[in-house]
């Protein structure tokens, strides 16, 4: 049974989405727009060629501050936190002792001993509890700022052109995965050059009560330039084309960071983070499975999330995410397969509604923007 709309959590933009005739769905307990009237393909193309505006206020924000903050975040995450400059962001994860995922997240370095951790909406409560539970003995405060924080993401090649007239902060000098505090349309916010689409763009964090005003200002500035409001449907196809992981699909509490292809966020020589011992051991042994990208050849052969990868009638792996790709123009996906089969150019079989369908392993990411 789906949860009644009245029981779902709502972002500060709920009324704005309904006014735009969005199609709303239950997304991890949140009432969120999956698409607007333009549709997933048009929204996807707008982000690739012009710009799209997403409501990501459902994401969770946890602030860690105090003399022990750096030590705690280093203990909790495998990426090199001490190397982050103030005003810099990186992608990382919370891992269990066995190296599997509590969640993936962004770490914002707000000060020498102050960090903002941005986590997935559906994991927000679990993550906050995880941080609190591990914070014992560290001299710092841990505050869940999710309820008082709104967030929108302006993504696409026209992002700078649309946003610059709304702010006195020069945007060009903000590098990819850097951020600054500033004002947009008179609203105080974090202006972060980050995103989940593979395009240039900004994620803007503001006080929850200012979110609708910020959204309306960016919509008004961008609409004449082709900006579309963009829902979770195209957010998924955009991130999939760039092989960005989604919790519950490519990563979860049964998959460890190395097999997920996220070795680049795991700095084994950088402190004793939770999960390090397990990943050191995993690195010493050959990984039994690997995440690969694939394409199918026929229009009708559309793989979907969680379908089995088969060989001689036996399941040997599974699809994590798959869809017809609006940008690539063919049907693609990601799957865990035994390492000996994980070679570009090789063929695997995916069981699509009872039929074993050939798929070719191809290089990832499927899409990369030209700089």
């Amino acid at each position: 049974m789906s949860t009644a709309a009245s029981e779902l959590m709502k972002t500060p933009l709920n009324a704005a989405h309904r006014a735009l005739n969005a199609k709303m769905v239950d997304f991890g307990g949140w009432d969120m727009p999956v698409q607007y009237p333009a549709g997933i393909i048009a929204e996807h193309e707008a982000v690739r060629t012009k710009a799209g505006l997403f409501d990501v206020s459902h994401m969770g924000e946890i602030r860690v501050k105090g003399p022990g903050a750096l030590a705690l975040v280093e203990r909790l995450t495998p990426n090199a936190v001490s190397k982050l400059a103030i005003g810099q962001v990186h992608y990382t994860a919370f891992l269990y002792e066995n190296g599997t995922f509590v969640d993936d997240l962004l770490v914002y370095r707000e000060g020498e001993q102050e960090f903002l951790l941005v986590v997935n909406a559906g994991n927000s409560d679990k993550d906050f509890a995880w941080v609190q539970q591990n914070a014992k003995g560290y001299d710092c405060t841990v505050v869940n700022e999710s309820p008082v924080t709104g967030q929108i993401a302006l993504q696409g090649p026209l992002a700078v052109e649309i946003l610059q007239p709304l702010t006195a902060t020069p945007l060009d000098p903000i590098g990819y995965y850097f951020y600054t505090h500033g004002e947009v349309a008179g609203i105080k916010c974090i202006i972060s050059r980050t995103g989940y689409t593979g395009e240039d763009g900004f994620e803007l964090y503001c006080a929850a009560g200012d979110t609708e005003k910020l959204w309306n200002a960016v919509m008004a500035a961008g609409t004449p330039k082709g900006l579309l409001p963009a829902g979770l449907g195209c957010r998924n196809t955009l991130r999939l084309e760039c092989k960005m992981a989604l919790y519950g699909h490519e990563i979860d509490d049964t998959i460890h960071a190395l097999e997920a292809g996220l070795g680049w966020i795991v700095k084994l020589d950088h402190g004793d983070f939770i999960g390090r011992d397990a990943l050191l051991a995993a690195k010493a042994a050959p990984a039994p499975r690997k995440l690969v990208g694939f394409k199918t050849h026929e229009k009708r052969d559309i793989a979907r999330d969680h379908m089995p990868v088969v060989k001689d009638g036996q399941q040997i792996g599974f699809v994590t995410s798959a869809a017809p790709s609006p940008t690539c123009g063919f049907n693609l996906g990601l799957a865990y397969v035994p390492t000996e089969l994980a070679k570009v150019g090789g063929t695997i079989q995916i069981e699509i509604r009872g039929r074993a369908v050939n798929a070719e392993i191809i290089p990832t990411p499927f899409y990369k923007r030209s700089k």
């Binding site: 996807h44 009708r300 869809a323 017809p324 609006p326």
Partner: protein, 127 residues
Amino acid sequence: MFPADLKYTKDHEWLKPAGDGTALVGITNYAQDALGDVVFVDLPEAGAAFSEGEEFGTVESVKTVSELNMPAAGEVLEVNENLADHPEAVNEDPYGKGWLVKIKLSGGLDGLLDAKAYEALVSAESH
């Protein structure tokens, strides 16, 4: 968007009797809206026979796939070949250019809903 000259199923297909023992079959506006952008429609060959409620194909959208169930027993006379290159017709004109198959009816239409009953069903599902 519930044309009165159509019959409906609770699975959101429609059937339009031509009066000569044949009928067109498609999916409703509600169904196409729930699916979102349709990218492929998998349809049977002409000559295939189906019983009432039997799966006769699938509709694939960007985000999901949905089975097609035959609203009434019959034999497929013709499939909408235009959908191979223009699957978006199912979204744009679900009761017109987006028709799926033409069938020769081999049984009755008693199991189908009229527009009013279908509208009530959709309105209940939307809440």
